[in-house]
């Protein structure tokens, strides 16, 4: 009889260990079915959370072979075929504190979610009698983001959170913020943008794990990008903003990046000077040429077209 083996990363009262369970293969079963089978027939102490079994509640998110996914919608057949093995690694989702085994703590995460005021500040023209109507086009701008089920998969392998959770919010928090920023009925988009800006909006490292993990095919990294655009338009600025603006300046000026002036524009004179020794090292290895500070890059062939295009896009945005 074909056996399926789960190596489960367990945790209980400060002790972490991996426990192996095997059970008879059955076709067309889910990863969650396997966990329940273990709990029912082998080890009732195995702890995990699950509720709807329909990829709606978001409770059963776990790491399967290193990748966060919903246990209830992930088929054992698909996983064994994809990874070429009947042995499957199961762990709690990453970047969460573990309560026990596969159950993670959401309490602190909910408090982080509240940071961006994930609720609507209704415009004054709306009331109980008139309702709060909007056009189908306006509805389309945010409706996808309402599909977030708070499963935490986007946060699990977020490389920025893994490096430091204190100065960056979980990706779904930015997604929730953007859901209200893009809602035409919201009277105070900056009430969501400002706290996002203050809490790591520009610290996303673009690892794209959030987009790759979301079981609802949402794009938290794109939400971060859209929030940055709104923040920048509102005049909020930091190193990240200046860095992006430096790229755009060069795109218009010559078509290509000038690494030396970009560093100055991003860091400012004082911080750039602090990097003096580092810059010398790069120079010594031929990585940068300080002459680029004074010798301007030659614009690319067709730069007039590029400028026309950027300007036309700007007008189209208005």
């Amino acid at each position: 009889m074909r056996q399926i083996t789960y190596n489960i990363h367990r945790y209980n009262e400060g002790r972490s260990y991996v426990q192996t369970y095997s059970f008879d293969y059955e076709p067309d079963r889910t990863i969650l079915w396997g966990l329940q089978k273990i709990k029912d027939t082998i080890d009732p102490t195995l702890t995990f959370i699950a509720a709807c079994r329909s990829a709606v509640c978001g409770a059963c998110s776990i790491k399967v072979n290193g990748q966060a996914m919903l246990g209830c919608e992930s088929k054992i057949d698909d996983i064994t075929e994809r990874f070429g093995s009947d042995t499957i690694e199961i762990a709690p989702i990453g970047n969460f504190d573990v309560i026990r085994d596969l159950a993670v703590d959401w309490e602190a995460k909910v408090n982080r979610l509240k940071t961006v005021a994930p609720w609507i500040f209704m415009k004054p023209e709306f009331n109980r009698d008139m309702g709060s109507r909007q056009t189908p086009e306006d509805f389309k701008k945010f409706v996808t983001n309402t599909e977030c089920i708070l499963c935490g998969c986007c946060a699990s392998e977020c490389n920025k959170l893994s490096a430091n959770r204190e100065d960056f919010l979980d990706p779904y928090v930015y997604t929730k913020a953007n859901r209200f920023v893009q809602d035409s009925r919201d009277a105070a988009p900056m009430a969501h943008v400002n706290p996002a800006f203050e809490n790591g909006l520009w610290k996303c490292v673009h690892c794209m794990n959030c987009i790759s993990r979301c079981p609802k095919h949402l794009k938290p990294a794109k939400d971060i990008s859209e929030l940055r655009a709104v923040a920048t338009k509102a005049g909020l600025s930091n190193k990240g903003t200046r860095h992006a603006l430096a790229f755009r300046d060069d795109l218009i000026k010559t078509g290509r990046l000038n690494e030396v002036t970009m560093s100055l524009k991003t860091d400012g004179l004082v911080d750039s000077a602090k990097q003096g020794l580092y810059a010398m090292r790069l120079w010594a290895h031929g990585k940068i040429n300080p002459l680029e500070l004074v010798v301007p890059h030659k614009p690319v062939q067709g730069i007039k077209d590029v400028r026309t295009i950027v300007k036309a896009a700007e007008e189209a945005e208005r």
């Binding site: 490389n159 794990n209 000038n258 690319v300 590029v306 295009i309």
Partner: protein, 292 residues
């Protein structure tokens, strides 16, 4: 086999050696690459944050320039690949956006048609050139060299934009390493992000990420790390000294461009691959192939 070569800004600046090595390797293999005249910065994921429509349109121009030549657009930078592919995918999937962008391009007398694909040198070597053909060209197999395979995010994720291989279990780089006679070293951080794009606003986190990748490769006994992305190469190499302090690792780890490693196996001299003064760290094992 002909491609319009999109080197990207970093190959004109801090990673000129990757330009030199890519051109040398392509020539040796008989892959025709010609730099796309008039290419502009892909936006590097930064312009996308503040002027998404503007940079979508300039990337549509980049692709349209390749279309006019009737060839695919080939990059060597993961981020250029992703930015150009995201633009292409958006324009190919969304007719309204395509019409809007073509209206913008029309003001400069250009049109995006969707006839040229955007590809990466690694994909060209595997999908178009073939690993067996690459293997047949190897004259100096890098036998005994333990090479940590480091992919870089933007060649793998998001999968719907990249689409070359399974983003969780990629093999392309390991396959190339094997084809040139070296030993691929699978290490736990091979799919991690080097942090390059946030080195200014998230400096400390990024140093930790960079340091952890290098330390993990050293722990697995790698002689060097190879990457198909010049941005990852720059991050893991240029910030290596500083990043070590964040993870208490004192081991040096050379970070080599994929094009350079292939070039060595094809018998191209280190000087012709821009390897004389530019790689900042070395190990004894690597020096057997590069020279001290």
């Amino acid at each position: 086999m002909k491609y319009a070569f999109f080197p990207g800004c970093v190959l004109e600046g801090a990673a000129k050696e990757d330009f030199i090595a890519t051109v040398a390797v392509a020539k040796k293999l008989g892959i025709q690459i010609e730099e796309l005249e008039g290419w502009t910065c892909c936006g590097a994921s930064h312009v996308q944050d503040i002027d998404p429509l503007g940079v979508l349109a300039t990337n549509a121009r980049n692709i349209a320039l390749a279309e006019a030549q009737g060839v695919q657009l080939m990059t060597v930078c993961n981020t250029c690949t992703l930015m150009l592919r995201e633009a292409k995918n958006e324009l190919d999937r969304d007719e309204t956006q395509r019409a809007r962008v073509n209206n913008i391009l029309g003001q400069a007398g250009l049109k995006y048609k969707g006839t040229s694909d955007v590809t990466h040198f690694l994909w060209v070597l595997i999908r178009d050139y073939g690993l067996n053909n690459l293997k047949a060209k190897v004259v100096k197999p890098l036998s005994g060299l333990r090479v940590a395979e480091y992919y870089g995010c933007h060649l793998l994720r998001p999968a719907e934009e990249t689409g070359f291989e399974d983003f969780q279990i990629p093999t392309s780089l390991a396959d190339v390493i094997k084809a040139i006679g070296a030993t691929p070293i699978d290490f736990s951080r091979k799919l991690d992000c080097c942090g390059f794009h946030a080195v200014y606003p998230a400096h400390d986190s990024v140093m930790k990420m960079t340091g952890s990748i290098n330390a993990d490769a050293a722990k697995e006994g790698a002689d060097c790390v190879v990457t198909p992305c010049p941005l990852c190469q720059m991050q893991l190499d240029m910030f290596q000294k500083e990043a070590k302090q964040y993870v208490a690792n004192d081991k040096d780890m050379p970070i080599i461009h994929m094009s350079q490693l292939i070039g060595l196996a094809l018998g191209i001299s280190p000087a012709e691959l821009g390897m004389t003064k530019r790689h900042m760290t070395s190990t004894a094992a690597l020096n057997r192939f590069v020279g001290a």
